[in-house]
Amino acid sequence: MSWLFSPRTGGLLVLAGIIAILPSFLPNAFYYDVVIRVGLNAMVCIGLNLLIGYAGQISLGHAGFIGLGAYGSAILTGQFGWEPLTAMFFSAAMVALLAYFLGRPVLKLKGHFLAMATLGMGIIISIVLNTEEQWTGGPDGTMVNPLTIGSVMLFGEQVWYWIVGGVLLVSVWVALNIVESPIGRALRALHTSEVAAETCGVDTARYKLLIFVVSAVYASLAGSLLAHYGAFVTPEDASFIKSVELVTMVVLGGMASVYGAVIGAAILTVLPQLLTAFEDFEHMVLGLILMLTVIFLPKGLLPSLVARLTNKSKSEEAI
């Protein structure tokens, strides 16, 4: 029976079950839209959590990678007539390359210096997207062609629901496998102490770089999907505020918890929708909720919950 409770089987089953029955609770396209955005944000957060939660390296610039993926897809399909899937994977490959070359010097930095460097990286990307109008349409954004596979055009919230649901399951599965592999062990080791990990023969620089690239690819793919789904992309998707939102989702849901990232993304994507009724007070309430959660549940929602359910001690194992 223990396989039922392991995150790689039981957890995935629960998630698949939720994705399968959720549509019967979604009355109209608007709800589908919110859930699809939850899924795409969750995808980015899962990747980001590998970096922040497991490897202990903060990034305040991940929205930049979303932006590059989104604009890569938009420009390659729109202005060069590429196939959407080719464009999506080519953009992801380019983002991986960029993350690789930027990551090498950036990840040597620690603490606040690392925060500053990743922040700067993200802001530079967003300024470039804002400025190069002939390619990106500037601050107003640009239209994106719909996603086609062969001759089949995929559009409409219900179709996208299943696409994003499937992609999310794969994202979780890949992340869980990374976490449980020797790579995951190396990441947790270097999170605890880089020096100790190195003394044991862990090539910390290589693993940090690897996970940085992986998380950037997650963001880029989610960005491409977001662009095709929304049929429109603006530099807002790549802004500093968006990066901060992503980190907040990760911390709120729970560091070093793949499912926590999904929950964090869900809450912070749905919450603004609920708060639109208060319009003017939306930001105040959002900021307040953020502060209160972090003050009272510093480990994040899911790990705190699991710790309460399993009576502490086991919280370390909650993935």
Partner: protein
């Protein structure tokens, strides 16, 4: 040619001085608590916006300035009391960063409700009559900013080195445990550091309000540039932060003037990336070794 260069240099130093002031706010809080306060930019915004609205309400400028500074100090102290102190014991650095980010979102939202979403500007302190400096033309407000920054730095030096409570803060920055052992109340020091950061932010916000528009969002970029100044200075000394700010300001003005004004905001971050790549401890930071 020469006049143009001088023009860019002077405006760079002026803007850089405000970045330095914002950076000093970061630095004081960082020293006291090792927290990077991402709401620092919001202190700047609160200073600028309060001053604008107090002047609009008919108060004379000096009174409005005092009122605005008091408001920012109050917000700083409240932030520390209500949000940082309850979390400090249990939380790690990333969590504390998130709290200050939450606070900055909250304060921006509050500003939106209390004031509005429009852009505002403060009247210049002493007229708009341009001054000719060796061919470069500056407005009097530039002098107010540079002078204001110089006075603040001198006052801070005096406070941290001569005034007992300031010396207590310096001691706490060096070693919090030892400071407690000699009877310094670390809690008070924390509260004071947030109040001081509020004061510095507000002054920076008020000084630039006549030459740059202020709005509820004005704090974001100014805060980030102040953070740049701090990191460029290497988190080492207050003087290094001010120099870091001025370097960022000059580079920005030169870049905007000679290269591309569209990429003005990117220049600060490109410099910071290059510096961090080649000098990971900032320009003036000490090469430290980690204790394991």
């Amino acid at each position: 040619m020469y006049a143009e260069f001088l023009q860019f240099l002077l405006s760079g130093i002026t803007v850089g001085a405000t970045y330095g002031l914002v950076g000093l706010g970061f630095f004081i809080i960082y020293n006291a608590s090792h927290v990077i306060n991402f709401a620092q930019g919001e202190f700047v915004m609160i200073g600028g916006m309060s001053a604008v609205f107090l002047v609009d309400a008919g108060l004379p400028l000096p009174i409005a300035v005092i009122g605005a500074v008091m408001a920012a100090i109050l917000v700083g102290v409240l932030l520390e009391k209500l949000a940082i102190e309850p979390a400090r014991k249990s939380a790690d650095v990333v969590t504390l960063i998130i709290i200050t980010i939450g606070a900055s979102i909250f304060l921006r939202g509050l500003a939106q409700v209390v004031w509005d979403k429009n852009f505002h500007s403060l009247p210049a302190f002493s007229g708009e009559e341009p001054i000719n400096v060796f061919g470069a033309v500056i407005v009097p407000q530039y002098l107010w900013i540079m002078g204001g920054a110089a006075v603040i730095v001198a006052a801070l030096w005096y406070f941290f080195n001569k005034v007992p409570i300031g010396k207590a803060m310096t001691a706490t920055a060096y070693n919090p445990l030892a400071a407690r052992l000699v009877g310094i109340r670390v809690k008070t020091v924390m509260m004071l550091s947030f109040g001081l950061a509020g004061l510095l932010g507000a002054i920076a916000g008020i000084l630039v309000a006549p030459i740059a528009f202020t709005s509820y969002e004005a704090g974001i970029m100014l805060g980030l540039k102040g953070f740049c100044a701090l990191i460029l200075g290497g988190l080492s000394t207050g003087r290094a932060v001010i120099i870091g700010g001025i370097i960022v300001g000059i580079a920005e003005a030169m870049g905007a003037g000679y290269l591309s004004s569209e990429y003005k905001d990117a220049i600060a971050f490109i410099i910071i990336l290059l510096v961090l790549f080649f000098m990971p401890q900032g320009l003036f930071g000490k090469k430290g070794t980690d204790r394991v």
